[in-house]
Amino acid sequence: MLRPCAEKVSRTYGECDMIEINHWDLITAWVSPKKIDLAKFISSALQDQPSQLYFIDATNSFPIREFQRETPVATNKDVYDNIRIITCLELEELTILVNKIIQTIQLNKIERQKKKSQNNSHHNDIQFFPDLKMRVIINGLEIMFKNTQFKQDSETTHSILRDILLRLRVIANESEGTQMQTLLLFPKDEFKISVPVGDTGRYKRMRSNHNGNSLGEYVCKFYADRVM
């Protein structure tokens, strides 16, 4: 059942301090994470092998300094190799990237099947053919959306956005050989009402207004399984 964004936020309220990758859903939205928290998350996400992380970014926001502190490069070269930083400023580019990620997953599946058949699959699958853990972090979705809006009409832009988010969900649901999780980062300002009211810590319920929802609110409301 779809829950309003504000309720989802309040549900997860207070859990941000503990970043546990295993508890994350297929598509998670994270509102204004601290750099150090993001670095910790990325570090923990890549502890299990084999894993690959795609950091798709509209701005130069990968927390390199914090990550280097968290994960020293000298002892974690593989982790650094398994993170790919990709600059993306438009939804069309993001579509291409998502397609490439899908192709990578398909390749992994084929490779895995090949190996299985070579080994007659009498080995334990989990031990010899561990699932590929793929994480995708997208920062600046609202910028990509806006930039696409400059070129395309609103309907087309929305359609591209929906297509991307649905594809990500579909891939994440296909669990054979791959575990994929997507994290969407949004600035706090995207959420006009999802902040505590007064000193009580309670959250206002989302109400429609004539300005419509921001992109962050829209995505969190209809596509994210969890909002932090």
Binding site: V31, D81, I85, P187
Partner: protein, 435 residues
């Protein structure tokens, strides 16, 4: 086990750049020459990033830009190319360092300048620059960028657009321009630095009465930070507002009363911000383009401590006061995160006495002998961070907790005015280029 990248690369599907490669490929950061500032920026200005430096007239933004040009031309064994974009003022060539003639000639070859004083010129310029196959510029400085945007806004206003429209158009246009700049910085691994003016918020013409309703002083002893007390901060970050209490007591329910002069009367507070924000198109959506900025650095004046001691304060003539400069560095991205966690914390526990402010304050000054800006480490001129204000003094640079460096000026009612206050009323008007 890093077989996935190999698999992907083998099949010709590699995209993006690995973090290890990114770290290796990134050019060394550009040093400013102010060691503490470099430290706070993670060893200098990083490539693939856009920075904004802003401050009042005469504080030395252009000089600082020229210092960066000199450092940039000397970086990477003298291989870097630097571009200076003039908007409304020519680059003061006399400030460019004179080195050995041969070395100077080489530098001049790698230094370019162009005059662009319209928004559309800037936009087209960056679009074309990306396509050019010439040597990329590792450093681009735009002097007076905010003035170009202000002029653009004025053109929109003359077309008869209303306030809301102008704000939306400004945000869209800045997103567009910053997108092209970001494409350039990422593809060429360069750094763009914007040198902007600052403006006080009373300039804006929107009805932002709420903007100045809920500022309160952060009691971290610095006297430099204010934060929004708007708990349902549903507007773009900034918009808190009123007078800040300068007492050392923690903010409390009564702070609002104090802010209103204790008698429900509102003081006139003006917040000094970047002119890129505090212009006539200021509004709630400014955050949409602000996230392109890696870091903001506000330059402000500060009094040296000895001139502010209470006994000196009343005796000393204004002209005898010594000033130094402060750079307030903050990361808008982490700032947002902090604000959010603060507000969550506030939800858990009523009232916050202290906030762990992570913004950095660097004291620096212009060395007239060397002709460079440098850190002020002289123990005899300590940084005024724990200074308790004399009751008569009511002006200090401050910083909004959310995203803006700012300076507040409180106008004291006439019946409370003192001699010492007379000079303080016009404090934000600085002489230009006094060095």
């Amino acid at each position: 086990m890093s077989w996935i990248p190999h698999l992907v690369a083998e099949l010709g599907m590699s995209f993006g750049i690995s973090l290890s490669q990114l770290i290796v490929d990134n050019p060394e950061p550009l040093l400013s020459g102010i060691s503490e500032l470099d430290e706070s920026l993670n060893v200098g200005f990083q490539s693939r990033s856009i920075y904004e430096i802003y401050g009042p007239p005469g504080i030395g933004k252009t000089k600082f830009g020229i210092q960066l040009v000199n450092n940039g031309l000397s970086r990477n064994s003298g291989q870097d190319h630097v571009l200076w974009i003039e908007t409304h003022r020519c680059i003061p060539w006399n400030l460019v360092k004179n080195e050995e003639e041969e070395e100077e000639e080489d530098k001049i070859k790698r230094f370019s300048k162009v005059r662009l004083n319209k928004f559309t010129q800037l936009l087209i310029f960056f679009q074309n620059l990306l396509k050019e196959e010439r040597d990329p510029y590792q450093l681009i400085i735009i002097d007076g960028f905010s003035q170009t945007i202000c002029d653009h806004i004025q053109i929109l206003r003359n077309r008869g657009m209303d306030e809301k429209q102008i704000h939306n158009v400004k945000c869209n246009h800045l997103i567009l321009l910053f997108t092209w700049m970001t494409k350039y910085t990422h593809s060429k691994r360069s750094t763009i630095i914007l040198l902007d003016d600052c403006m006080n918020t009373s300039y804006q013409q929107l009805d932002l009465h709420s903007f100045e309703d809920d500022f309160e002083m952060v009691d971290d002893g610095s006297n430099f930070f204010v934060r929004s007390t708007m708990s349902n901060n549903n507007n773009n970050n900034n918009n808190g507002s009123t007078a800040t209490s300068f007492s050392s007591s923690p903010p409390s329910a009564s702070s609002r009363d104090r802010a209103f002069g204790g008698r429900g009367r509102r003081r006139n507070i003006q917040v000094l911000k970047s002119a890129l924000v505090a212009n006539s198109a200021m509004g709630a959506k400014d955050f949409k383009w602000e996230i392109f900025l890696k870091c903001r650095i506000g330059f402000f004046w500060n009094w040296k401590e000895e001139t502010l001691r209470a006994d000196n304060f009343s005796k000393t003539h204004r002209r005898q006061f010594d000033r130094c400069r402060l750079a307030i560095v903050f990361d808008p991205h982490d700032e947002r995160a902090k604000t959010l966690s603060d507000s969550r914390e506030r939800g858990r526990k009523r009232g916050i006495d202290q906030v762990d402010m992570q913004n950095k304050i660097i004291k620096f000054d212009y060395n007239t002998e060397e002709g460079v800006f440098e850190s002020v480490n002289n123990a005899s001129v300590p940084l005024l961070l724990s200074f308790k204000r004399p009751s008569a003094m009511t002006s200090t640079p401050t910083m909004e907790s959310t995203s803006q460096c700012s300076s507040t000026v409180q106008h004291i009612p006439d019946d409370q005015a003192t001699t010492a206050m007379e000079w303080e009323m016009d404090e934000i008007v600085h002489d230009s280029e006094e060095e």
